[in-house]
Symmetry: none
Subunit: 155 residues, 2 copies
């Protein structure tokens, strides 16, 4: 069961990469991401995300979240690749997530995290083979650790 934050994040991606013209369609797309949600929940999510509607060619109206969603997606994909390649272990203590990398690779990971601009990340510090990731106030360290573990393909 995805958390609300995770679900809304996925919604943002889906809207950026699909022409979603109805909430039912969005529910279907979420289900494909193994996220179950009802129309009521989706309606509220869209409201909270500040969704708008735009016209696509053919004239139908689709949902959109303003603010360069596609960029975010691209960076997320890039981040996933980098994490998948270089992160070998994830640990967490309170609001600090420790990412272990091969020697000399920490800065690559830190850079990708910085450019991803994750709301959940307050900042990063890179050593030689370790990246300290500080979770933002709105995100619990363990949740962030789990998120980064998944992006790293570690679970």
């Amino acid at each position: 069961m995805a958390s609300k934050r995770q679900r809304q994040h996925v919604i943002t991606q889906l809207l950026a990469n699909n022409s979603v013209s109805s909430q039912e369609q969005l529910i279907t797309l979420l289900k494909e991401e193994d996220i179950e949600a009802t129309q009521a929940t989706v309606s509220r999510d869209l409201d909270e995300l500040g969704s708008v509607t735009v016209r696509v060619s053919g004239g139908i109206m689709v949902y959109a979240i303003p603010e360069l969603p596609s960029d975010h997606y691209v960076h997320q994909d890039h981040l996933k690749r980098v994490l998948g390649e270089w992160v070998v272990k994830v640990g967490v203590s309170r609001n600090i997530v420790m990412l272990q990398t091969p020697p000399g690779s920490a800065h690559v990971v830190a850079s990708a995290l910085d450019r991803a601009g994750l709301e959940t990340v307050l900042g990063t510090v890179a050593g030689d083979d370790t990246v300290m990731v500080v979770a933002s106030e709105t995100c619990d360290g363990s949740v962030l650790a789990e998120s980064l573990s998944q992006l790293s393909g570690l679970e």
Copy 2:
């Protein structure tokens, strides 16, 4: 009794000068301009005018008629990025342009094309790794293919 053209002109003005969050509200505003119309008519008018919804401060969604030029520009930039990232091959047959993408990425490209609202594109159909782009009557398929190739950075 205002003509359709006149009524739609007034609607455009009303949307520009008021935060109209429902069609019923719009009907009331029209009545104040001595224009009678039912919800069905207003719904159709908004559709024909290519209305969208935007968020105003306070978070409510209101109707708006977009100003095409700047939107077009923004989406073109977005389109260029998406095509550059995901399109690996462009083919053309008569008025159909075929875009080849990595598996699973076709819908991303199709969505971006939809949003770009190119006059030269009549519509798109996305498979798994292929997007079929139908050129509009006013554009030759090979011209569109070349245009999309350039946007994709393929030549």
